[in-house]
Amino acid sequence: MKKLKFIGNPLLQSREKINMSSDKKWLTLKTTEDNEEFVVEESVAIMSNVIKNMVEDGCASSVIPVPRVKGNAMGKIIEFCKKHTEESDEKVLKEFDAEFLNLGPDALYDLMVSANFLEIKVLLDSVTTKVADMIKGKSSEEIRNILKIENDLSAEEIEESRRENCWTRQE
């Protein structure tokens, strides 16, 4: 089932490429995994280096296919990029990021992989910082719980790892 999402003016219903005014270009991004389409301003979409290169090289046609990124993640990424192109106040952006990244490990994983693939540095930095902060200072059991990772080490391997790294427990 094809779903079309409009990020931008909610009053507009047309499915054609929309030129709101002469100086705003719009692009359609289509996630090939689940066939969702997103219409975004070019200035928002070029926060992704990959898309930026495609536009500059002239390869961007009316619809840009985006593999490997799921619809859900795409939606969130566009929401992030839109906020970051609109807003320039650091404090507001910081608050937005904190609220935005209040997600579980699976969602964060999707965001990270997608941001990495699309080369969106700002988003990638925010998510990686968030993940690093989540595990800073925690014990291995807590890290497992937070990141929902299964323990595939045997008791001996854990003990060996601890012994090898005992010197890292410094002041």
Binding site: Y109, A132, K136
Partner: protein
């Protein structure tokens, strides 16, 4: 934090995809996430799962700075640790248990900064080999020092401290002949005053000979920014040399340890202080006459000397003075009034410093961050009564001020930024500790050594109150208090959950039950932190039975343990070696050193093998 509405979709997604954090692309995982973490978290990460273990060890190898000064690694640990690092630039190493060969082996071509501490087992040959093979290194001494200095023409910072042996006093005699021109930071101890004077003249004169133009302040000719010396005596002649040759010095730190009261003309007088006022760029000044060898003082400096000094040096941010017996409140007060940017103020053994000098400054707008008033017997609690509530004070050290009493603590407890409090030897009782427990000072380091009137009740009041201290306390020193017994230790163990360093030296009433309390389950069930340093010297109530509780698997994170003068040593070295088994990071001290052996390592009979 998963949104419940999408939980079912999430479960499906997990089966379909491999969306686990540990299967991220390795460059992302290692470079962006793991390499921002500290060593301790990386250790936990490597115990989580197989992929993360690999990633963590790769992240470790990327680190460019390694600081192993917190504990003394043995040779085995060194050979285990260093091969994993491929591009270390900065190394700090505690060499208490290492021989020459291990040290020279770890030095790679990339090393830019090297700190070797507590080198009692190293010979001077190490120094020569560092000088010949590598060109960008700091540090070391004697005949090989010259070779080192000749080999390091780009040296910017040199710090050499020789402790514990008297016959090295002359070891820096001609150091100025070899010292590279670019040196910015120089710290030497000990150095004879006459050698220091010729060194300083050379540092100044060399600039003149190289450049025939009039010297201007911002030229790169004057390189030395920071000078720190421990001498046999500070005299006027030395200060004249500094003022003439190094007028653009930023930091000056002089300490002397005379064996007898210096007499004129070989002493510091008001004239010397007046000449020092020409060093207008000074931001840090330290003039200390230490009581280490004899109770000696600066008997030829009075208030006028400081008035003259402060006419020129108005940018001082850190002032440390010791041994001023004649300077009165007027002199000390003038320091606080003239130096508007003053952040650190330390006064030791000032016989005439009283509350008056401090009360006015502390009550007004004062930017002091560190205030240390050591062994100033005239001080009482009055000086801090009216302290401004917007104070930024972080460190308060009143050790040896015997007239400071509980009333002081009631004012201190309102300081929101205080993290270190030292009240050794003060007249503090249990009621004083009750004030601390109600306040919101986030105190992390508390020293109550020798506060003889404190009892178990006081400890209970301190840690069971509603203030912040029970959550923030990480270092506690309650040595020398007879009133502390097993009950007090039990309170500490259950309530002070962030504690990682504890000293109960000379607590005669403490018995084996206390050691068992420190490893009790209740602490670790509540996420209590593991103890890293424990000082049990002179705890004569402990018996050799405690050895069992001190062994693995208890005290897993212990890095330093002091057992001097206790019955724990009576079963011999073999029994003590048992304690160290399975814990290669542990240093066991039988010689009665203070925590960490920072000032006693040179007297150890043998480095623990």
């Amino acid at each position: 934090m998963n949104s419940s509405s999408s939980s079912s979709r999430k479960t499906i997604r997990r089966i379909e995809s491999n969306g686990h954090m540990d299967s991220l692309p390795s460059s992302l995982l290692i470079h962006d996430i793991l390499s921002t973490l500290d060593f301790e978290t990386l250790c936990s990460v490597s115990c989580v799962s197989k992929p993360l273990r690999l990633a963590a060890s790769q992240a470790l190898s990327l680190f460019s700075s390694l600081d192993l000064s917190a504990f003394s690694p043995d040779a085995h640990l060194i050979t285990q640790i260093f091969p994993r690092f491929t591009n270390l630039k900065t190394i700090a190493l505690n060499c208490l248990r290492l021989d020459d060969i291990y040290v020279t082996n770890i030095l790679g071509a990339h090393v830019e900064e090297l700190k070797l501490l507590k080198c009692s087992s190293l010979s001077s040959h190490v120094l020569a080999s560092i000088g010949t093979c590598y060109t960008d290194h700091p540090k070391i001494f004697s005949r090989n020092l010259a070779q080192l200095l000749r080999g390091c023409s780009h040296l910017e910072s040199l710090s050499i401290k020789i402790r514990g042996v008297q016959d090295y006093a002359d070891s820096f005699r001609s150091i100025e002949l070899h010292l590279p021109q670019g040196v910015k930071f120089l710290r030497l101890r000990p150095i004879l005053e006459r050698n220091a004077i010729s060194l300083i003249y050379k540092l100044g004169v060399a600039k003149y000979i190289n450049h025939f133009i009039p010297v201007c302040p911002d030229s790169s000719v004057f390189n030395l920014q920071s000078l720190s010396l421990v001498l046999d005596v500070i005299s006027d002649e030395l200060i004249f040399a500094i003022a003439n040759s190094l007028p653009f010095l930023l930091e000056l730190d002089l300490e002397d340890r005379p064996m007898s009261q210096p007499r004129l003309p070989h002493d510091l007088t008001n004239n010397g202080l007046q000449s020092l006022s020409s060093c207008r760029r000074l931001i840090s000044l330290s003039l200390i006459r230490s009581h280490r060898n004899r109770p000696v003082y600066f008997k030829n400096i009075n208030d006028m000397g400081f008035f003259l000094l402060l006419e020129g040096c108005k940018n001082l941010e850190s002032v440390r003075v010791g041994g001023l017996s004649i300077v009165s409140d007027a002199g000390f007060g003038s320091i606080l009034q003239s130096c508007l940017n003053l952040k650190k103020f330390e006064v030791r053994n000032a016989l005439q410093l009283s509350d008056l000098a401090l009360a006015e400054s502390l009550g007004g707008s004062c930017s002091l961050v560190e205030l240390k008033l050591v062994s100033c017997s005239l001080l009482t609690s009055a000086f801090i009564e009216d302290i401004n509530s917007s104070s930024t004070l972080e460190v308060l050290d009143l050790s040896g001020c015997r007239s400071v009493a509980d009333a002081c603590l009631s004012s201190v407890s309102f300081i929101n930024t205080l993290n270190t409090l030292d009240l050794s030897g003060a007249d503090v009782t249990d009621s004083g500790l009750a004030f601390l427990s109600k306040g919101n000072s986030p105190i992390a380091r508390l020293c109550l050594r020798g506060c003889k009137r404190v009892t178990n009740e006081g400890i209970s009041l301190l840690l069971n109150g509603r203030g912040q201290i029970r959550k923030t306390l990480s270092t506690l020193n309650i040595g020398g208090i007879r009133g502390i017994s097993d009950e007090g230790i039990q309170t500490i163990s259950t309530a002070a959950l962030a504690l990682s360093e504890l000293s109960i030296r000379y607590c005669h009433s403490v018995t084996d039950a206390s050691i068992e309390e420190l490893v009790s389950e209740s602490r670790y069930q509540n996420d209590g932190k593991l103890l890293r340093k424990l000082d049990l010297c002179h705890c004569i109530g402990l018996s050799a039975h405690s050895l069992e509780t001190l062994k693995s698997p208890y005290f897993r994170a212990l890095q330093w343990l002091g057992v001097g003068s206790t019955r724990l040593t009576e079963k011999g070295d073999a029994a003590l070696a048992e304690i160290c088994r399975g814990r290669p990071c542990l240093t066991l001290c039988q010689e009665g050193c203070e925590v960490g052996c920072d000032d006693g390592w040179q007297f150890h009979r043998s480095t623990r093998g």
